[in-house]
């Protein structure tokens, strides 16, 4: 007699936990009931991301690199499941290798993007990149898995925390990814992933006063309105491409801090 498989309940990923939507709503994708996040869930996610910012940004670059590398390890172990929930094996491998690539940048981008500045006075002057803070990421619809990874990895490698709106038609891979992230020593709240209707969530993410930057790469026709909402607290708005991989993608979510100190005896 064949055994009846145990199915997974697809939930949100907020503050390192897997809650259902407080609204109790779900929608169906690929035959599964997926949580349909509410505005309240979104606000909770932003709060979780803000709460995790100190811990994640305060970790050493070496440590953050290892955590990102471990996400790749966790994905590799679940490669078969990921392949089923995405466009296939090739997408999964690209996504895993992307984590490895960005993991290696954790302790290098500051050397590429920072500078020491030869000012014309007796001061030591240097510029260092720092994380912007909480970043809202609108993941592309497709590729749902690698597109999300391509936009999320450069955000968090720089020490930012993230609130991600997963692909609306293809949300399953993003929750599978949340499970990999949850077991990769990423501090709870550093990455939050919401599934649901983009039109219900995106404007609230764009207008949220405690979100510092916004990747609208995955947004559709409502882009002007989202960018207008983002101006309310002068958010850094990035139109991310799902196929771009570069340290400059990291730079998009970094601030530059310049420090002056006198040179004297």
């Amino acid at each position: 007699m064949s055994r009846l498989p145990v199915r997974k309940t697809y939930k949100l990923f907020v503050g390192g936990e897997f809650p259902r939507s407080e609204s109790g709503r779900t929608y169906e994708a690929r035959g599964q009931n997926v949580a349909r996040a509410s505005r309240k869930d979104l606000r909770d996610a932003v709060r979780a991301a803000r709460g995790a910012f100190g811990k994640w940004s305060g970790m050493t670059a070496y440590n953050r690199g290892q955590v990102l590398y471990r996400i790749a390890e966790m994905m590799e172990a679940r490669a078969a499941e990921f392949a089923e929930l995405s466009s296939g094996r090739a997408e999964v491998e690209t996504a895993i290798d992307r984590w490895v690539w960005y993991a290696g940048w954790a302790d290098k981008y500051a050397q590429v993007l920072g500078s020491s500045n030869p000012v014309a006075a007796p001061y030591f002057n240097f510029t260092v990149p720092e994380p912007t803070g909480v970043v809202g990421v609108m993941a592309p619809e497709r590729p749902a898995l690698d597109g999300l990874v391509a936009r999320l990895a450069p955000v968090i490698v720089g020490g930012n925390t993230a609130v991600v709106l997963a692909s609306e038609p293809e949300p399953l891979a993003s929750i599978e990814l949340a499970e990999a992230i949850a077991t990769a020593d990423v501090p709870g709240g550093a990455v939050n992933i919401l599934t649901g209707y983009r039109s219900e969530l995106a404007p609230w993410l764009a207008g949220h006063m405690d979100v510092n930057a916004l990747d609208v790469g995955g947004a559709d026709g409502d882009l002007p309105e989202l960018e207008r909402l983002a101006a309310e607290n002068v958010k850094r708005v990035v139109r991310g491409h799902p196929d771009r991989q570069s340290p400059y993608e990291i730079a998009n979510f970094l601030e530059l801090k310049t420090v002056w100190h006198p040179i004297g005896v």
Partner: protein, 499 residues
Amino acid sequence: MTDLERRQDRSPVPSGWDYAPAPEARDILTLEERYGLFIGGELVEPGSGEYFPTIDPSSEEPLAEVAQAGKEDVDLAVRAARDAFENGWSDISPAERAKYLYRIARILQERSREFAVLESLNGGKPIKESRDVDLPLSAAHFFYYAGWADKLEYAFPNRRPKAIGVAGQIIPWNFPLLMLAWKIAPALAAGNTVVLKPAETTPLTALLFTDVLRQAELPPGVVNIVTGDGRAGAELVKHEGVDKIAFTGSTEVGKAIQRELAGTGKKLTLELGGKAANIVFDDAALDQAVEGIINGIYFNQGHVCCAGSRLLVQESIYEPVIEKLKLRLKTLRVGDPLDKNTDVGAINSKQQLEKIRHLVKSGEEEGAEIYQPPCRLPDKGYWFVPTVFTNVAQSYRIAQEEIFGPVLSVLTFRTPDEAVEKANNTPYGLSAGVWTEKGSRILSMAQKLKAGVVWANTYNRFDPTSPFGGYKESGFGREGGLHGLESYLDLDESEARGG
């Protein structure tokens, strides 16, 4: 006599500090009666025929008439810039482009006194500042970016830098020529052409700068300057022919510009307001710190976006710091901007003076304690006595809002963590100051402060090699240094992976 004046310290102006007047000569300068708009290499009449007077804020005397650019004028300027970009400027080799910028730098150095006098005359800032800060820095900025023009491919590894096209640039009235240099130098070095809108109240050094461009033989249309009030700026922001907007000014206007550009895909950089904390620890070299506090807030009458307008003093040294500060305030010389001994000049405009008065009044009403040193103010012009508020709560408007005047709000703290929390408790994030003799504490504070520029044991230092710009609602993008180039370049990746 106003309430404010009644409260002012009535002890006599300290003797022994009186100097004979030492005004800088004005005859180095020849002003036109009326200035047109600088479009396509010539000063032309505005389409509307509308002019407005620009004044000396220290005397309210008119200096010249300046054109109000309208929609069609801005359009002409943008077309001139586009034409120059497509027909000529882009074909000039980067090395030659560099040489134009070097020429501009040299001419500014040669004519620096003339510019300094005009800057003080039209803006109200002390001549010693325009002479020793604004002018040398403006020339240095052109000199620095000149050298980048033919080295751009070394600035951004693995990218192919290209000019963007036409840059629309809107600058404020606090450092008129310096802000012009911050905008124009990197834009031209990167190969763009520009349309620049100077501030309504301080257009004259930008107009005199057109004579520098003539002497440098810069091709017509590469730089266009349209004067006027906010309407001209709004037309520039809205114009479809502009590829990039760079704005320095208030956070309120910056947000409006960001909204206006939403969905257009135009590049934008914003240098907005600030409410910087200047943090003094109990182990700081107190006399130096007091000089830094003074320089932080009274430099340029406090018309500085990165001004150290909130003083955070560690509780254990609160009394001696306040005592020294008040003593030092009494020696500040407020008056004629052209006098070489003047420390604090005139407030830039009547409108700004009213804003300062309004916020100072709110500080008194909310319960802060005001101190103003004895000092004589001229009868005419716009003036405000350097002011210190103590007993300030974080919630007071004078601790939250940018006053943009010579007004310091003093708060206290006990622990470094409390200092960080208070310093960061603002939507702004432009700059901060830290005063302590402990190196590890400086680096720890510098790391925790959410500010684009941190001055340790110094304040209000600027250099063309040093990137400047804000966190949070103080804007985005950097000016100065290698990073300042990025705002004016299209940076395709030559071999982006995974794509």
